[in-house]
């Protein structure tokens, strides 16, 4: 108990950053909430899509292009406008590159591949959903048709039943995107708030001289560490809960949906990752100023690189590849996946589960490192 009590006392002395980052999250959430609300309903329901077709313009490929054209504004670039510029100025929300062999892949029952670029806003998500839906329907019929003509018929009849039905209502896409923005920003809050505070508190407890004294106590060193870990866990959960309560306050009951639950689960896993990062830093570094610098670097760096602030679509490929070394990449990637998920089921969640496994792998890695570091520090020479 004395460990927990002292942990709280030390924590209390470091409460400023916790409050600061919670307030930041609120402000960010409020701004995000109010600005998105003013978006025009009509223009937003039809995203601006640019199609770059390297394949033939016939057969199932043509069906695909027609399908998109019916549901989105097809944009042509003016003469010297580049695609990246168009994305940047939001003249286009979503770019679809149809590769050569797209049609053949579908006919042969292979998984067709598409490359896309997106602005990451909710119109883009809408386009993403359309594409996903088409591919899913094609996938359902694949292997179940005799010739391409039959497949096209199947597909068309499937979609004609719902031509008048909005794919997803404006509110849903809008809310999904708003939730994603909130949870993406939480990447920064977690790292800069939670990780910072826990690392700082841990440097106090892990200070060499204090550790020496702790080792001399009649409570086993392992027990003390156990209590410390539990204290940190409790704090992390409380911090996470506060973020969740805030999200309910800001986003409302849209969180009571499968999408919402997935965002929450994902953020919970990331909280555990953050906790282990914090413990590692706290064990490794004894200088509080250094902790400050390192945590800022990690929080800001990974938030930028992994797309917590700016969608990864705007980043060079090399940066995106680099960002995979951060756990944040998998957390944010999952948020983006959930955002553009039309239905939540086992299949659509597979990539999210994959990201969770990656994050848990980071947890295991960090736990091993923490043990190595603290084992090395246990004896003092």
């Amino acid at each position: 108990m004395i460990v927990f009590k002292s942990f709280l006392r030390v924590l209390n002395k470091n409460k400023a950053p916790v409050i600061l980052f919670t307030v930041m999250l609120v402000i960010f959430g409020v701004i995000n909430f109010t600005s998105n609300d003013s978006t025009d309903v009509f223009t937003s329901s039809r995203p601006d899509v640019l199609i770059v077709n390297k394949d033939v313009n016939e057969g199932i490929t043509k069906t695909f292009i027609d399908y998109i054209s019916k549901r989105a504004e097809i944009i042509k670039l003016s003469d010297n406008e580049s695609i990246d510029d168009a994305l940047f100025y939001r003249n286009v929300n979503y770019v679809i590159y149809i590769p050569l062999g797209f049609r053949d892949d579908i006919i042969n029952g292979n998984k067709p591949s598409l490359e896309v670029k997106s602005t990451g806003d909710y119109q883009a998500s809408l386009a993403q959903m359309m594409v996903n839906k088409f591919l899913r329907v094609v996938n359902v019929y694949s292997g179940d048709f005799n010739d391409e003509w039959q497949l096209i018929n199947y597909v068309n009849s499937t979609f004609s039943n719902e031509t008048n039905v909005e794919i997803t209502s404006k509110l849903d896409v809008d809310s999904l995107s708003r939730m994603a923005t909130y949870f993406n920003f939480m990447n920064y809050t977690m790292l800069a708030g939670l990780v910072f505070v826990i690392s700082i508190v841990m440097t106090s407890f892990k200070n060499v001289n204090i550790s020496k004294r702790t080792t001399m106590g009649s409570m086993s060193y392992r027990r003390v560490n156990m209590y410390l870990l539990l204290s940190n866990l409790v704090f992390a959960l409380v911090f996470w809960l506060v973020c969740m309560i805030l999200s309910f306050v800001l986003l409302g009951d849209i969180l009571f949906s499968l999408h919402g639950v997935m965002y929450i689960v994902n953020s919970f896993i990331f909280t555990i990752v953050s906790l282990t990062i914090a413990l590692l830093i706290g064990n490794l570094i004894s200088n509080k100023n250094a902790v400050n610098g390192i945590v800022n670097l990690i929080a800001l760096g990974s938030s930028f690189l992994c797309g917590a602030f700016v969608p990864v679509e705007f980043m060079p490929k090399s940066v995106v590849n680099l960002s995979r070394v951060f756990p944040s990449y998998y957390y944010i990637n999952s948020n983006e996946l959930i955002k553009s998920m039309e239905v939540v089921n086992f299949e659509s969640l597979l990539p999210v589960f994959k990201n969770i496994i990656f994050m848990l792998a980071f947890v295991v890695l960090f736990v091993i490192l923490i043990n190595v570091v603290s084992w090395k520090k246990r004896r003092f020479a």
């Binding site: 106590g217 009649s218 409570m219």
Partner: protein, 312 residues
């Protein structure tokens, strides 16, 4: 008397340095034993090895009759340590710091409260209970450091240079506190490089140099080793070589040093050396300001044994 600590053939090597070289000694119940030696002589290393905070290359350590190891929590319950480096939480107040470290030994809250009060009183920090370490002067901080180490009323206390860089008032407070702890029944190991402190405080002194014990015993026993009976210092502003030679040939005189200001005459043995020297000076009409006689100090002992001064 009961042996509280038994150190046999302890040797500790850091990568390239042999910090402690085959030392053996015992500490008996109720004693204050001083480990005296210049900086780097291996005092802290000895203490940390005894406490199993360091692994050592050779030797054995018994505390309360048991072979010491990092997991002897029952033994640790009865040990208090005040490390050379101050180890307190910046974020906790004086009271909270003592409470935390005491809490690593004492679970019962009401007992702990009483113990923490006692510790605060012992080191005289009553007026600073609510202060944070950053607000304390060096001396007060050292006192807090001590309180954190001894609040759980251990039977055996290690103090590693608790008075380094401390103002005289705090130093007196600390020394008084240590005597009080002993009067309450604690056995104390005290390391320092201040010889005055061990003379005031310790029943027995172990002198270390370069990782080895070079002498041990009571203050009086050690002074025998200095091979000096008496040291007379005289402030004289002028003295001819001729006179110095004459003094050298006086009875019992072992050594004469004159630095142009102070004349130091060292006697190996004999009585009334001071009176005889004063007689000699007045007969020769030599005027002097001050004259005083000293018993040899531990510094003289150290000088005799190692050829260098204890003071740095």
């Amino acid at each position: 008397m009961k042996k509280v600590i038994e150190v046999s053939n302890l040797t500790k090597e850091y990568k390239s340095v042999r910090a402690v070289n085959d030392i053996s000694f015992d500490v008996y119940e109720g004693e204050i034993v001083g480990l005296l030696g210049p900086n780097g002589s291996g005092k802290s290393t000895t203490i940390n090895s005894i406490l199993s905070l360091l692994s050592f290359s050779k030797g054995s350590i018994k505390i309360f009759g048991e072979e010491m190891s990092p997991n002897l929590y029952e033994v640790k319950r009865n040990i208090g340590v005040v490390f050379q480096d101050v180890a307190v939480f910046d974020e906790l107040s004086v009271l909270e710091n003592i409470d935390y470290f005491c809490g690593l030994y004492i679970k019962d809250k009401s007992v702990r409260k009483e113990y923490v009060e006692d510790a605060i009183n012992l080191v005289g920090l009553l007026d600073f209970k609510k202060f944070y370490p950053k607000q304390l002067s060096g001396g007060l901080l050292r006192r807090l450091n001590i309180a954190c180490g001894i609040a759980h009323k251990p039977k055996l206390i290690f103090l590693d240079e608790p008075t380094v860089a401390v103002d005289p008032q705090s130093r007196n407070n600390i020394l008084d506190g240590i005597l009080k702890l002993r009067s309450e029944g604690a056995t104390i190991i005290y390391t320092t490089h201040y010889m005055e402190e061990v003379e005031i405080l310790c029943d027995r002194i172990i002198i270390m140099d370069k990782g080895s014990i070079i002498a041990s015993g009571t203050s009086d026993e050690l002074k025998e080793l200095a091979n000096i009976e008496e040291k007379v210092s005289v402030h004289i502003s002028e003295l001819s070589d001729e006179v110095i030679e004459k003094i050298k040939s006086l009875k019992n005189v072992e050594e004469v040093n004159y630095n142009g200001d102070v004349l130091v005459v060292i006697y190996k043995k004999g009585e009334d050396n001071l009176v005889k020297l004063m007689d000699f000076l007045s007969k020769n009409k030599i005027r002097y300001d001050k004259i005083f006689s000293e018993r040899p100090t531990l510094n003289d002992v150290f000088l005799e044994l190692t050829g260098k001064e204890l003071r740095d």
